[in-house]
Symmetry: C2
Subunit: 421 residues, 2 copies
């Protein structure tokens, strides 16, 4: 008899995403691991039973004081893993909307005082407590939408010391919100005003001042770089990534978002954990990623927010044999906290099947941020999952931005909706 | 002293949308009626105080047993009015997604057994209770996202009697969900299989069999028609609209969605309450709508769900002097329940300001479905409103699909999120 402190019954379908290779490439609808009429049991924060509801009472015994939860015909999916966020910032950029409505692009908005450097000013001015409070509210909204783990990039301080201080906030945020957070050092998010025209001098400082502390104190899992004209060249980016590898840090690349600038090739050449965005990548770039085994992180909500008609190349990447992961890219430029929105955009605009999109938002996203334990509903794994009020997991991508009834992190409900009078 | 049974304080901003003409055209960000640091009081389901929090204790007295609610620095906006929904149906069309992923269009999907007629089969087969339950779940999800009033179209029975029976379900749904629902007769949603190739014969039947009952029993406020090649011609549509007017019913037109077929001109000529979709309307059509005072209902989530790159012409309509309203267009083809998603799509893709989009989603939408009391936060009006966890109303459009902390309908909380263990 299995002892449990939480038992969930009344589950129309459990999408377990179990028993497959990680990362997964090109999972079709029929291949998604599913259990119809399921039950799930949790003990000490981990799954101890994932299987049919029929006969569960003979296999699982709820401890005295244990909780029983009726999913009321809903569907269980693994907690979402948001593989790419810029969620750690202060202030907002609602003031840019009239400019965007006029069709101004990223660089024109930057010239008028908007863009990344505007948020850098707000973040440098903010107190530690303000940063924690504002970022914590965003992370809580992510959790309500079904996210249980997320990557958190720095990048809005843009001084070698300030960027390290941002990294130190990530464990505090994890503790306050109950989310698993993976810190990424994105000191090379933009060239700070103090180094205008001298990106190499700035990257030198990051390599000499920031990386040793990060490596020594294990403050980040990854080093990322914004490899794009006007930001950091391929050559400069490569220098930073080499330095990161040499001190034992993983790497990521903001690659080929605006123009085809060589970021995907760089990620493939350096064996980065992921290449992210890829809107302008061509078929050769995609082949290089597939050959190098680099995971592609696609961010369909970012294209939704831009005035361009470009769509995330999720389908093309999958068809070429690249493992695809999803993220929100939450930032002051595209303030999206909902992974279900990213999933439905990947389906409706990115032409993934609901099963492929769900895989990208869970197991593959976990792989993209080296969180191999997360992203599946399997015995022995952490009990991070959501109950969605839909009859099958396909409906999470079919419907637009459906939200969960309840989200569990290590077996504890971190969000739900109930009537309040 | 004003007596109240509900008092809300701690409101960073109340977007009242009060004291203006209805419908509203081209409201810019600065013109939105806003009260910073506000309080709101309700008595008997209607607002009795809407003003600054400062001094409210000298003006408003909470009754014994009355409820006090702290908005915690959130923003009050009027309950959303969803001006266009096909929410009354059975089943789903998730099976079409692989076809959509291959780029098939609406008519090709219909030829393969998908499309409207697939949902017609499911709806004809469904029991009354199944229809009420499935539709009620969608309406409940809409309410959780901040909608307090919605239009509900028929159109998935496609027999003169069945369409009337669908109308009879709308008051039952209103009673079960607590939403204000406005029924629209869309018997002319598609040509039913029994009348293939004979749209005029079908419309004759609707005019002779359905309209008299609808008019006599006041079952619908509007008659709508799908005026598009392959559905109903301008001439046939016009015959139906004339008949509707002659029995005292209002009219709406599904106009110029796929091709420029003359629907907007028809709406202008017949003085319809609204012309809806308008993706293919040209500048002359838009001028005709402006001249005739027809409200345009734009549905940006529908374009999001299609594989085409077409955007809702919200900006062009507003600039031409047309009052713009918003809806979700929730249907089995684009299953979207969230008005905040429609608002953020109107801002980011449709190039409206957040204030314009909010106006379109509230007062203008109320006008589009003749619900003139709804859509504002004003003393004497029904207390239908939401508290969003954002510092200003602009953030509802700036952020992507932000959801309310709590939604009130006639002063009663119909949804909230609270922690549940």
């Amino acid at each position: 008899m299995i002892l449990a402190d939480l038992l969930i019954t009344g589950v129309a379908e459990a999408a377990t995403l179990a028993h497959g290779p990680v990362p997964r490439i090109g999972i079709a609808a029929g291949e998604l691991s599913r259990i119809p009429d399921a039950a799930v049991a949790v003990e000490g924060g981990r799954f101890v039973y994932v299987g049919p509801e029929r006969g569960v009472s003979r296999k699982v015994r709820l401890r005295p004081g244990g909780r029983r939860f009726d999913a009321a015909g809903g569907t269980i999916v693994p907690g979402f893993v948001d593989a790419h966020t810029h969620v750690l910032f202060a202030g907002d950029r609602a003031f840019e909307l009239p400019w965007k409505a006029q069709g101004m692009d990223y660089s024109e908005i930057a010239r008028r005082g908007g863009g990344i450097l505007s948020t850098v000013r707000a973040t440098r001015r903010a107190t530690r407590e303000q940063l924690l409070r504002e970022t914590g509210q965003r992370l809580a909204a992510m959790a309500r939408a079904g996210t249980t783990a997320a990557e958190v990039k720095t990048g809005y301080s843009l001084t070698p010391g300030g960027e390290v201080e941002l990294l130190r906030l990530v464990p505090v945020l994890a503790q306050r919100t109950g989310l698993r957070l993976v810190p990424t050092f994105l000191g090379a998010h933009a060239v700070p005003p103090e180094y205008r025209g001298r990106p190499d001098a700035y990257v030198d400082r990051l390599i000499r001042k920031s990386l040793p502390i990060i490596a020594q104190e294990r403050l980040a899992k990854f080093v990322d770089v914004f490899c794009e004209p006007g930001f950091f060249s391929v050559r400069t980016s490569e220098r930073l990534l080499r330095a990161a590898h040499s001190v034992g840090l993983g790497t990521k690349v903001h690659a080929d978002e605006f123009v085809r600038s060589g970021g995907a090739r760089l990620a493939a050449r350096r064996g980065a954990r992921s290449a992210d965005h890829l809107l302008a990548a061509n078929v050769d770039d995609v082949r290089a990623l597939a050959h190098a085994g680099v995971t592609a992180v696609v961010l369909p909500a970012t294209a939704f927010g831009s005035t361009s008609a470009r769509r995330s190349p999720a389908r093309e990447l999958l068809d070429a044999g690249v493992a695809v992961a999803l993220g929100t890219d939450c930032s002051p430029n595209s303030w999206v906290e909902s992974m279900p929105l990213a999933v439905s955009l990947a389906v409706h605009g990115g032409r993934l099947s609901p099963a492929e999109a769900l895989t990208a938002a869970t197991v593959n996203a976990a792989h993209a941020i080296s969180l191999e334990e997360a992203g599946t509903v399997e015995v022995g794994r952490p009990a991070d999952f959501s109950v969605f009020p839909v009859p099958t997991a396909d409906h999470v991508g079919y419907r637009y931005d459906v939200r969960p009834s309840v989200v569990f992190r290590q077996g504890n409900a971190i969000s739900s909706r109930t009537l309040r009078q």
